[in-house]
Symmetry: C2
Subunit: 433 residues, 2 copies
């Protein structure tokens, strides 16, 4: 781990930088895949699945009976855990329901805002050695609460065409409408354009490798909304002398095991904490199964000490804008009140990132690469649209219409003025009766 002590402000921007990877360099590789799917539909999907996932597929869609029997292939401890996580995530996201707003902005002029579900959403769940069923929870639960009519899920199959039962069980539990055996850029193309089997959706969610991300960016330019840009996962622990170095080390490692490009950063006001965390990290690293990955990631990670200077530690944190921020300080709520740029915040010594990754109730799909300066993590909002409405009472037009008429005249939009003026005249005639 690289130790930096009281870095001067001019160095902060550099310390907050992520490794540069320009997704647009993959556009030339990904665009032909998108084009093929757009033109040849399911045939192209089968070709790409054979080529990239080594799976020869007849049915792209998973059948109802496959979905139904998934639970029988899982241990009860796991299904019970998933059910409790489902309960917690549902409870937190249901509390985010939007109450319609009705405001009379001036007499007779009523403006309203209400939330409506996005009709059709597509969820992407990456493949790999382990089944990422937790991401199914994080994407499908808010989609279901929002009331999305069609919830499509794509995930790459094993070479025998199967999908891990934990994914299927969780998808069924969360009310996913259709699951497809599709991975990579071809899955994104299928959901963006629609094919014979796969419905076209209005917004695509979920993580993926660089090709998936590049495909999402490309289709987002013209066809479909996406949740957010994405990059490797990140954690920052902001700690003072009251932290538990063993916990902090465990948190840094739980980020580091994700991949060699994961970012784990410790920002602390206490030099001794820095040293003890470094020692603990080395000690806990040894027995980890994913030691090779975590070791490389930790070697690139940083410990930044702002000695007895919480103000700088907070300012640097907001500049860095981490995906996950663990605040292991004495007055963690006071510190948290100054944080504006972070994905999700974990308060105090006992709130580890993995709690939120799985089961506390918050969403784990969060902005990385400093996108937390402008993007929220996924929440109920992400699956809804806010619609505005307005109603003008004709009796109020004598007071209101001249405002619109004056502004339209100044913007030289005469037909805009006329649409208002005609109504004012009609209303005045009516009111005079």
């Amino acid at each position: 781990m690289n130790l930096l002590i009281n870095p001067p402000r001019v160095q902060w921007q550099e310390l907050a930088e992520r490794p540069l990877f320009d997704l647009s360099s993959l556009f030339a590789t990904v665009q032909p895949i998108l084009n093929e799917v757009r033109t040849h539909g399911d045939d192209a999907l089968r070709d790409f699945e054979k080529r990239f996932d080594h799976a020869e597929l007849t049915d792209l869609a998973v059948s109802a009976s496959e979905l139904n029997r998934a639970e029988t292939n899982l241990p009860d401890t796991l299904t019970a855990a998933i059910r409790q996580a489902h309960h917690n995530i549902t409870k937190f996201h249901e509390a985010q329901r939007f109450e319609p707003i009705v405001v009379e902005t001036q007499p007779g002029i009523v403006c309203e805002q209400r939330a409506v579900p996005i009709e059709r959403v597509g969820l992407y769940i990456p493949g790999g050695t382990a089944p990422l069923f937790s991401t199914v929870l994080m994407l499908a639960i808010p989609a279901s609460i929002a009331g999305c009519k069609e919830i499509v899920l794509c995930t790459p199959p094993a070479p025998d065409g199967s999908i891990h039962p934990a994914i299927l069980f969780t998808a069924k539990l969360c009310g996913v409408s259709k699951v497809f055996r599709l991975g990579g850029a071809q899955a994104i193309a299928a959901m963006a354009y629609g094919t014979e089997s796969v419905p076209r959706v209005d917004k695509i969610f979920g993580p993926g490798n660089q090709y998936v991300m590049a495909a999402k960016q490309l289709v987002s330019l013209s066809h479909v909304a996406i949740d957010m840009p994405a990059g490797p996962s990140e954690v920052e622990v902001l700690a003072d002398a009251t932290c538990q170095p063993a916990f902090v080390a465990a948190d840094l490692l739980s980020q580091a095991e994700h991949g060699i490009d994961s970012q784990a950063v410790l920002v602390t006001t206490n030099l001794s904490v820095a040293q003890r965390v470094a020692e603990e990290t080395a000690r806990q690293l040894a027995p980890l199964p994913r030691r090779d990955i975590a070791e490389k990631s930790i070697a690139n990670s940083r410990i930044i000490v702002f000695e007895n200077d919480m103000e700088s530690a907070i300012a640097f944190t907001n500049l860095y804008a981490p995906e996950h921020l663990i605040i292991a300080t004495e007055d963690y709520r006071e510190v948290a009140s100054h944080i504006h740029s972070a994905g999700s915040v974990f308060l105090g010594n006992y709130s580890c990132e993995s709690a939120g990754d799985y089961a506390s109730g918050t969403n784990h799909t969060l902005p990385t690469k400093a996108w937390a300066r402008s993007y929220s993590g996924l929440c109920l909002d992400s699956f809804q649209r806010k619609l505005t409405l307005q109603e003008l009472n004709p009796k109020s037009l004598a007071a209101f219409a001249p405002i619109v008429e004056a502004m339209a005249t100044a913007e030289q939009l005469d037909a805009h003025r006329e649409a208002m003026r005609l109504r004012r005249l009609a209303a005045e005639a009516e009111n005079a009766k």
Copy 2:
């Protein structure tokens, strides 16, 4: 106007299509401008302003004294109208303030969601013959209510370097921090990367020509969030026999005058309404100053009749997903309750689009080109981020931690499990004391 009577469902998709324009064809033109500004900063901005806006600039920023004296160059009727619009838009957007959410998802597990302002936002106001001060209101008022620390505004100058006083007056009224004489792709680049004069921002808002839109899309891939993709403005009027054909015609024309690529669509359940609106449109078109533009736009526009079939009229409307939707029917609130894909909805005969364009209180920056299927119009949310927080009570870990441990094990993320397990063991030891 093109009249279609009871089009079969297979034809709907085609009727809902917008003219295709692929912004990515402009990327090759725009990228070098972005690169120049990124590399050469203010010098590049001055060069491009000379080339594209024919303005030789010394100060890119507008001075405080210029901002202060703008009001003296405007008629009192206009400043009074802008002030009333400011009042209404403020009242509606202030009502959108987000109340923090605190939920105990299971005993001892507390999850929270709160809103924080995006720190630095950039607003783009297009140039042209008329000053679009109404867009300043729509972008700067919610930014100010959200509490954005820095609100930067760019707008192209006249060849003498001046900016219309209505823009400057409105910017000052809304609390804009800095106004720059910058237009086109170079303005977008300046706000995305920052230069010696122009601060880098976290999110860029506002309409613009195709080069501006292409520049926004390009910088959004890697550097800065943007409000939404954009296209030519659109209105749909959904009318039955109770509408006022003269009002409907005026509404179609107020859209048509925006540009020859504007979309004005009438969907009606009544054939006689279709005929009377067409006649009224021709009659009202004649005296308009922007007749040339409106005439071309109207020639491309459509009247779609679903005879006595409101259900189809509503289904088509949701498929078309218009930016503005005027519902001029008897039971307009009942009809509105079935609308999920539209930017902003205008209820009844007296609620014209121009009311919302200027002064009712709703935002006029809305999704076009069917992006209303997935994007909201601008609202207070657009200038905020939602941040989640969580706190675990150590006394609750005996019940909670095993859920996380089971799920992490199944996802083969051992360090995730360890971070939770270490805390559970420590808490159990503590609780046993």
